[in-house]
Amino acid sequence: MNRPFNKWLYSLLFLLFLFSFFNMLYYGKKTFHVESKTVDTKKYQYHFVLIPEEVDNDYWRLVEKGARSAALKNDVYLEYLGPKQANNDEHLRTIDQAIASQVDGIMTQGVTDPAFIPLINKAVQKGIPVVTVDTDAPDSDRNVYVGTNNYYAGFLAGQAFIQDTKGEQYVGIVTGRLHASHQKLRVQGFKDAIKHDKRIHIVDIKESNITKTGAVQATYDLIKEHPHITAFYGTSALDGLGIVEVVENRKQDYYIIAFDTLPATLKYINKGKIDATVVQYPIRMGENAIEALIKLINGEKVDPLQFTETKIFRKEDFLNLNTKLEGAWR
């Protein structure tokens, strides 16, 4: 027998044995190890629902983000529920469900619908505090409104418009919804701001249905019907983008003022396609809404109108982008 050869063979066999043994242990653990599933048993103090106009909306996601961070601090179980796409019936039903399931507080966007006000009143009647976020329903019994002062935001836009333009201006307004109160306020604020400036004329208002294609259609219609238009004002987030898409390929240089700071909007501002935009701070809205609800439950006195900041953002503001847009929609 060859001794060194045997030695090699034995050590090889032994290594092979160790290899299979440890693999056996590893796969054995993988196969048989049973973890008792632990559902998060964290105790929450309150159960709130946040009901946006549209669930998968970047703007509302920011509101949710703010609300979530505040919820985490305050032991609140937060549910973010609502229609997949803007739909009043579904929105109302979600609120009604929340009422039926006796949550501790409701945060919702105000909806222009005859059934909305009775529903909010019902909730308040049943002792569920309601906070309207972003869009108010001032005629209802809602406890608090948290959000942009839409009238003021429109007014800021108007002032910026006056500041930025010279000569006769014919403005076409693209608005999300003609009958949505916050949109109406934005338009109203704008109108009031330019009221005394004789060189600025509003030629028409068209509805975009808060979609980009709607905005494109509205812009197209405006230009077609009023070829002498020189400027556009978009009152909801996607309106500005829709306007740019139509106007981009035309020779004429239009003045465009938009709403909100979507990444695409910021890009267009940087390129000079959009001249200015109104900045809102949805994260703060979420935070403030949660805090307002907790105060309401604790019986503290709360200011029924809690406005978050609004600012105008122009190309030159990119220099101090971070300070200007902190907490804003990015």
């Binding site: 066999l13 693999n23 056996m24 054995g28 048989f32 929450y44 006796q102 949550v103």
Partner: protein, 474 residues
């Protein structure tokens, strides 16, 4: 001591343990997953049941509103109890989703029951406006319950998907596990087999080699050393003992056969001399009597001595005799030699009588005396002395044969004692037996090397001591 049996038992238990661990693991995990599956399925059924019961309850309320029938009222209460008990059952179920989500669902059911009751109450009161409101509310909530149920079932199904994925992964892991379990056990078995067979084979090889040596006649090999701590070790020890015993036995046999050979040699010499001696013996007796009748007394006595010397030398050499007889022979011999040499040599005898019963091989002392005569004093012109003394010491009966003849060098003495000379070539002895033959026989008879001591130096004479062990002392 670990026996081969306990090794085997250990070997089997290792495998049995391994397989049992595996099967128990399989049992436990299967049990766990079956339970999880069953729980999930039960929840499905419960949720579905709640949703259906809610609608049934609504139907009862609606029926009562439309028909205001007592049976509907009773059925309403029954269904309501059913719903409440199901709700309680759901509360007790192991939480699988956020508690808040479940609470929401439970609250919804609660609100639903409340609305239904309110409707019933207002119907009884006849308040149409209120009961239609609440009925509508109840209907809405029934739908919400259905929706929520569906979404809960959806969550459950999503869980199932991940459960399924997990099971799939486990299945794959199980396959790998089986492969590695297989190779591990095979290798383990190989190791056990190698270890086991090596443990048996090596000692057997060693034993086999040793046995081969023994059968080839080589008995003085090294002891077999077996390191394994089992029966084979004992086998090796037993083998070593056996070999040692055989070695001893063979040595004893060798000694015995040598004694036999010496005796046979003497016998042969006797036989050679037997024809003449018997005739001679008879003739000598006749001559002795004739000499006596003719009044030649000295001659008669001399012939008698020769005759008795001859008779003694014809004795059976194998038989031992007593010191007395040996001494008598020596005396006869002395008588003959005195007659022959007259005053040239003096023969002296000092004997302690009580020592004479000591047993001794026959034909021992006379050859020594004759040897002293032939090699010591025969050549002396006068003053030669040969002395035989027998006396007792603490342990021995000492036979001392002294002569004052030519003596020997130390080398010669040693040669005598070591039996280096060819002792058969002695001539001139009356019995034909040389000193070395005597020494050998004495050694073999008493089984000791120290039976003979010789002190001698040239021209100073020689003393031979026979140290015969006292009887009972050997």
């Amino acid at each position: 001591m670990t026996s081969i049996r306990s090794k085997l038992i250990f070997y089997f238990f290792t495998f049995i343990l391994l397989f049992h661990v595996v099967s128990i693991s399989i049992y436990i995990s299967t049990q766990h997953f079956m339970k999880q599956y069953q729980e999930g399925f039960d929840r499905f059924l419960l949720l579905n049941d709640i949703s259906q019961t809610s609608f049934k309850l609504y139907e009862k309320v609606n029926g009562y509103v439309v028909e205001k029938n007592e049976t509907f009222f009773n059925e309403f209460h029954q269904t309501k109890q059913g719903l409440i008990s199901k709700k309680e059952a759901l509360e007790k179920v192991h939480p699988w989703i956020e508690k808040e989500e479940l609470n929401k669902y439970l609250n919804m059911i609660e609100t639903f029951i409340l609305e239904c009751e309110m409707t019933m109450g207002f119907v009884i009161r006849g308040d149409i406006e209120q009961y239609t409101n609440h009925l509508q509310e109840a209907k809405n909530i029934a739908y919400y319950i259905q929706e929520t149920t569906l979404s809960l079932i959806d969550i459950e199904l999503t869980d199932y998907q991940s459960f399924n994925v997990e099971m799939e992964e486990r299945k794959k892991a199980f396959k790998s596990f089986m492969i590695y379990l297989f190779s591990t056990t095979v290798l383990l078995a190989v190791f056990f087999a190698l270890w086991f067979s090596y443990g048996i084979n090596k000692p057997i090889q060693v034993l086999f080699q040793a046995a081969k040596e023994v059968s080839a006649g080589k008995l003085d090999g090294d002891d077999v050393i077996i390191s394994s701590n089992d029966e084979l070790k004992h086998l090796g020890q037993a083998f070593n003992n056996m070999r040692q015993n055989i070695r001893k036995l063979i040595e004893e046999i060798k000694k015995k056969s040598e004694l036999d050979r010496l005796l046979k040699e003497l016998e042969l010499k006797h036989l050679q001399n037997q024809i003449n001696p018997h005739f001679l013996f008879n003739t000598l007796n006749t001559i002795s009597r004739m000499a006596y009748l003719e009044n030649a007394n000295v001659t008669s006595r001399l012939i008698e001595s020769v005759s008795s010397l001859l008779r003694h030398s014809l004795r059976d050499i194998k038989k031992s005799t007593t010191l007395r007889e040996e001494v008598n022979v020596v005396k006869e011999y002395f008588y003959i030699q005195k007659t022959r040499f007259a005053d040239r040599i003096s023969f002296q005898v000092h004997i302690e009588k009580h020592c004479l019963d000591t047993k001794i091989p026959s034909l021992t002392i006379q050859p020594l005396v004759e040897n002293a005569f032939i090699h010591g004093v025969e050549g002396k012109e006068e003053g030669g002395i040969i002395r035989l003394s027998i006396y007792e010491t603490k342990e021995h009966v000492v036979v001392e044969v002294y002569d004052n003849g030519v003596g020997m060098s130390e080398v010669q003495v040693q040669a005598l004692l070591k039996e280096e000379n060819d002792f058969s070539a002695h001539t001139g002895h009356s019995t034909g037996i040389g000193i070395q033959n005597v020494i050998r026989r004495l050694k073999l008879f008493y089984q000791t090397e120290d039976v003979v001591q010789i002190f001698s130096s040239p021209n100073e004479g020689t003393t031979i001591y026979l140290l015969l062990p006292k009887e009972g002392n050997t």
